[in-house]
């Protein structure tokens, strides 16, 4: 039988605040000793009280606006109780009843809209590492601020699940609310999947696959579950409502906990934290700080950057930001009503934008050190200069790449694009008089005589050889197009 899969995704995003959600301890534990970023509040000493980090509220507003969500002026925290050593307080502080982020939607590159049910703020749990006879607890991650984004069950294929996860990641990175490091769990996905026969009104029983940390695993887990559940349904059996884990190496999901064993979290209003009461003005001011989003960039660079190149670049907010600056597009246009007023046009010749975007994809991202380079991009002025030299044919495409790479060289970058090109002797000779002289020199050389005769006899392919000779004579500075023209004229 043919089944229609229905998929909802919950995504946890770690916010990149300076300090934790409820204490003043460093929130960035990357590369730090276990249990070194822990305050008595995180450690849940008796008598300790949570202190709400205002920066987390601001980032939650940006995250919400990035997903076209309403921001609730009134929200509050609740306690979710469970015993486990990763939870020192014995409860997680979350927003069960009244979340800060309301309904909205995410638009996939394909144009499909996935609705967001809500998103809420909460503290992360610690990390346990299990050994044979003991386990170690690391509380560095305790109460790192998270937002949990809950989608509506609007997804119906593995590829849309993949695209939704990826688009969410992009939105959060562009909004600047997370480091977006998937490998280190900055974003984690829980996927709910159910199947129902085509045309059925009621949804099937769902299984939840927890803790997926890559787009690929989201896609594969959905594919696996569709196959698994189809087989069960085809055999006339029932899918069990349960939580399942993902084994990436084996590419399969395995049952962990069924509904009957589900925990009772005994939710209770958090009495140590007053409700969050935001003024409409505050929400508006904070929302205005939202940078341009991927969908904005798609609109702005439509017809300027090829869409396959653009989709690659959209994985790198910093590169898009650079291209935006290069195109002199204002960055804070989100203060306009969402999705209404049109965006400013790009204010630089399209060909120059295309040149730089090509350099980004074909040179920068291909470099071994690209991660390092991304953190130290050349100035907009240098890139503009480079694009202009290329446009005016003062630089060949090879020379353009060479100068571009030198703009990352700590020894040279300060010299500026034009100066670097000069120092390396890469400026193309476009002066026709000077070029003619060089051509004359080459044509007078004995080793070119045969080629000249062949060309006159009708062989087009020797022209390349002659152009090469001229280029050599000019030490690469000659503009090959111009040289070709001069040669044709002289050999008529």
């Amino acid at each position: 039988m043919k089944y229609i899969p229905t998929i909802g995704i919950e995504c946890h995003v770690q916010l990149c605040t300076k300090t934790k959600l409820f204490s003043e301890v460093d929130n960035d534990a990357r590369g730090k000793e276990p249990n070194s970023c822990v305050s008595p509040v995180d450690y849940a000493l008796p008598g300790m009280l949570p202190r709400l980090n205002g920066e987390a509220i601001r980032l939650a507003i940006l995250a919400g606006r990035a997903m076209n969500c309403e921001i609730n002026t009134w929200s509050r925290f609740d306690r979710k109780h469970y015993f486990y050593p990763d939870s020192p307080k014995g409860y997680q502080i979350t927003q069960f009843y009244e979340p800060i982020i309301g309904a909205g939607y995410v638009e996939l590159p394909s144009g499909t809209k996935i609705r967001i049910e809500h998103a809420h703020l909460e503290g992360d749990a610690g990390k346990l590492t299990h050994f044979n006879s003991y386990s170690l607890v690391d509380l560095n991650r305790v109460d790192t601020p998270l937002i949990e984004i809950v989608s509506m069950p609007d997804i119906h294929s593995a590829s849309d699940a993949h695209d939704y996860a990826k688009e969410l990641w992009r939105l959060m990175c562009f909004a600047g609310v997370t480091y977006g490091d998937l490998y280190n769990g900055n974003m984690r996905f829980d996927v709910n999947i159910s199947l129902a026969p085509e045309g059925a009104e009621k949804l099937g029983t769902r299984a939840e696959v927890k803790n997926l940390n890559s787009f690929r695993s989201v896609e594969r887990a959905v594919e696996y579950e569709i196959k698994r559940q189809s087989k069960i349904l085809d055999a006339g059996q029932k899918v069990v409502q349960e939580t399942r884990g993902w084994n990436d190496a084996k590419g399969e999901t395995t049952g962990q906990r069924s509904k009957e064993e589900a925990k009772d979290y005994r939710y209770m209003p958090e009495p140590d934290l007053p409700p969050i009461n935001l003024s409409a003005e505050f929400i508006e001011n904070e929302s205005a700080k939202l940078p341009l989003m991927p969908s904005d960039y798609r609109e702005i660079f439509n017809g300027i950057i090829k869409s396959d190149i653009l989709e690659v670049l959209l994985d790198y907010p910093k590169l898009m930001e650079k291209l935006r600056e290069l195109g002199k597009v204002p960055g804070r246009e989100r203060s306009r009503p969402l999705g209404q007023a049109s965006l400013s046009p790009v204010n630089l010749p399209s060909s120059q934008i295309a040149t730089i975007s090509n350099l980004f994809t074909s040179v920068l991202l291909a470099e071994e050190k690209s991660a390092e380079y991304l953190n130290d991009l050349p100035s907009t002025a240098d890139l503009a200069e480079l694009a202009e030299m290329n446009e005016k044919k003062e630089l060949s495409s090879t020379a353009t790449k060479e100068v571009f790479l030198k703009l990352f060289d700590p020894q040279m970058k300060n010299h500026g694009a034009k100066q670097i090109a000069k120092e390396l002797g890469l400026i193309q000779e476009n002066d026709l008089g000077a070029l003619e002289k060089i051509v004359d020199v080459v044509l007078s050389k004995p080793e070119t005589q045969k080629a000249q005769e062949d060309f006159r006899a009708g062989s087009e392919k020797v022209l390349g050889f002659l152009v090469g000779q001229v280029m050599k004579e000019s030490r690469g500075k000659a503009n090959p197009g111009a040289v070709q023209e001069i040669l044709r004229k002289k050999l008529q």
């Binding site: 008595p40 450690y43 849940a44 000493l45 008796p46 008598g47 300790m48 009280l49 949570p50 202190r51 709400l52 306690r79 109780h81 015993f83 050593p85 020192p88 307080k89 014995g90 409860y91 607890v137 009772d264 979290y265 005994r266 939710y267 209770m268 209003p269 009495p271 140590d272 934290l273 007053p274």
Partner: protein, 460 residues
């Protein structure tokens, strides 16, 4: 309380206090005596006075600290087995404020474990005896602090009041005990019982001392988001303290369930107030009859939640018998908590369970709103309320400890203040024929703390 007049040294005061503490050892007041540190601090203060330095408003004044206040001096155990061995790396905000003014902690006082109780019989260290009758309870949960002040061992003591835990032992021992407006004093660094009703307060011998302590300890604290902006030291409204105040008495409490001698004491005080030109207003506050039931749902729920952190993993007592995680939790908590702690954890988890939340917790929360409104209504008709603190004077040791409901009923007049967040001052109001102290409480609207304390002088 100043000693800067050099008539007595801080060292002398501290030595005397410590000697008295030891003299009254049989009362089981202290869980820890801070001898070394206290003497060291006293000598330091004396040296500073000798140099003519400014030493603070409480310089050299010995005080007793309820065992649920965190400070690095001695183990902070909340008189609970499960916190044995816990030495706090942090200091409670309130303690830091007192110490900054030169007060010297001479010992930690006994209490019902985690402040669960009305008699200090639920302590891991055994009960504290009443200052006026050794056969009777000290009241609770801050029993040790009340007796330390009543026996004149210290000038003042700290307490916590979640449903009467300062006012009731104060009244059982004949001293002043103040529960401020919720949020007036920071809760940071005080072992939590029920976060939405917990208040930090004091035991003292005079309204003047109470006022001084409040002026020092009150105020907003960035470490406690539920603290109110500073207001205590604002100027007192002259209107409220004019010669003619309206004092309300609650008719609902004036019945046979209250000890006749206590009813008589209330009447005597009312007559005295009238003779001073104040007006007595009779009020009905029917919503208060829901207070005890609402309290014993909301508070256990918060208690169960706040006690979740005591799991034997990070600090305090850990049962060594366990060979897996579930057993570690089960054994540690089974052995580490007192029966009353367990009772409240079970009630709390029950009322929060999925399917029961709406029927219990949410209902209680609604009742609480009614109680808040009932007080607001009352304070439109009067400036203060005067009621008994508890229906009976101090009861005998062991009399109610095995009857939890009878014990809970002792809180019937005190808990509604905590649900409403309003301040209440327990005032000594004479003694019964058997010589047991009687206490009345003066109640005011939220943030009327200073007015309340100053007005209480009218009742002396």
């Amino acid at each position: 309380m100043k000693i800067a007049n050099k008539k007595v040294t801080a060292e002398r005061l501290v030595k005397d206090a410590l000697a008295k503490a030891k003299h009254f050892a049989e009362y089981n007041i202290f869980t820890y005596l801070n001898e070394e540190e206290a003497l060291k601090k006293a000598r330091k203060i004396d040296a500073r006075i000798a140099r003519g330095e400014d030493v603070g408003k409480l310089a050299g004044v010995p005080y007793a600290l309820k065992d649920n206040f965190l400070s690095p001096e001695g183990e902070t155990t909340a008189s609970a087995h499960i916190l044995q061995g816990f030495v706090s790396p942090v200091t409670a905000t309130s303690v830091a404020k007192l110490e900054a003014e030169g007060a010297i902690m001479i010992g930690r006082t006994n209490m019902d474990a985690f402040a669960h109780g009305s008699s200090t019989e639920n302590s891991y260290f055994g009960p504290t005896l009443n200052a006026h009758d050794k056969e009777r309870v000290a009241g609770g949960s801050s029993g040790g602090s009340a007796v330390a002040v009543a026996l004149d061992i210290v000038e003042f003591a700290t307490g916590t009041d979640t449903g009467g835990s300062i006012r009731q032992p104060a009244s059982f021992n004949g001293v002043y005990g103040f529960k401020p407006t919720y949020g007036c004093i920071s809760r940071y660094g005080v072992v939590a019982m029920a976060s939405s009703t917990d208040c930090i307060g004091f035991f003292a011998k005079t309204p003047e001392d109470m006022d001084l302590l409040m002026s020092i300890a009150s105020g907003q604290d960035s470490k406690d988001m539920t603290t109110l902006p500073d207001y205590y030291n604002d100027e007192v409204s002259t209107e409220l303290n004019s010669s003619r105040a309206r004092v309300g008495i609650i008719k609902d409490f004036d019945n046979e369930s209250v000890d006749p001698e206590i009813r008589e004491a209330l009447k005597t005080k009312c007559d005295a107030l009238k003779s001073k030109g104040h007006e007595i207003v009779e009020l009905e506050m029917p919503a208060l009859k829901y207070a005890l039931a609402a309290y014993y749902i909301i508070v256990p729920a918060e208690v169960a939640s706040n006690l979740s952190r005591y799991d034997g993993v990070r600090y305090g007592f850990r049962s060594e018998k366990s060979d897996d995680l579930d057993a570690l939790y089960f054994n540690t908590r089974s052995e580490g908590f007192m029966p009353e702690n367990k009772r409240r954890i079970m009630i709390g988890n029950f009322v929060l369970s999925s399917g029961f939340y709406d029927a219990y917790f949410l209902k209680a929360a609604k009742a609480r709103t009614l109680i808040v409104k009932e007080y607001e209504k009352a304070f439109k008709k009067c400036d203060y309320l005067l009621t008994p603190v508890s229906p009976n004077p101090a009861f005998k040791l062991g009399e109610k400890v095995n009857d939890p409901v009878a014990m809970y009923l002792e809180d019937v007049m005190s808990v509604s203040l905590n649900l409403a967040g309003v301040p209440g001052l327990a005032i000594p109001a004479g003694k019964t024929k058997k010589g047991l102290p009687i206490g009345l409480q003066l109640v005011g609207p939220r943030r009327s703390d200073k007015n309340l304390i100053i007005f209480s002088k009218e009742l002396i």
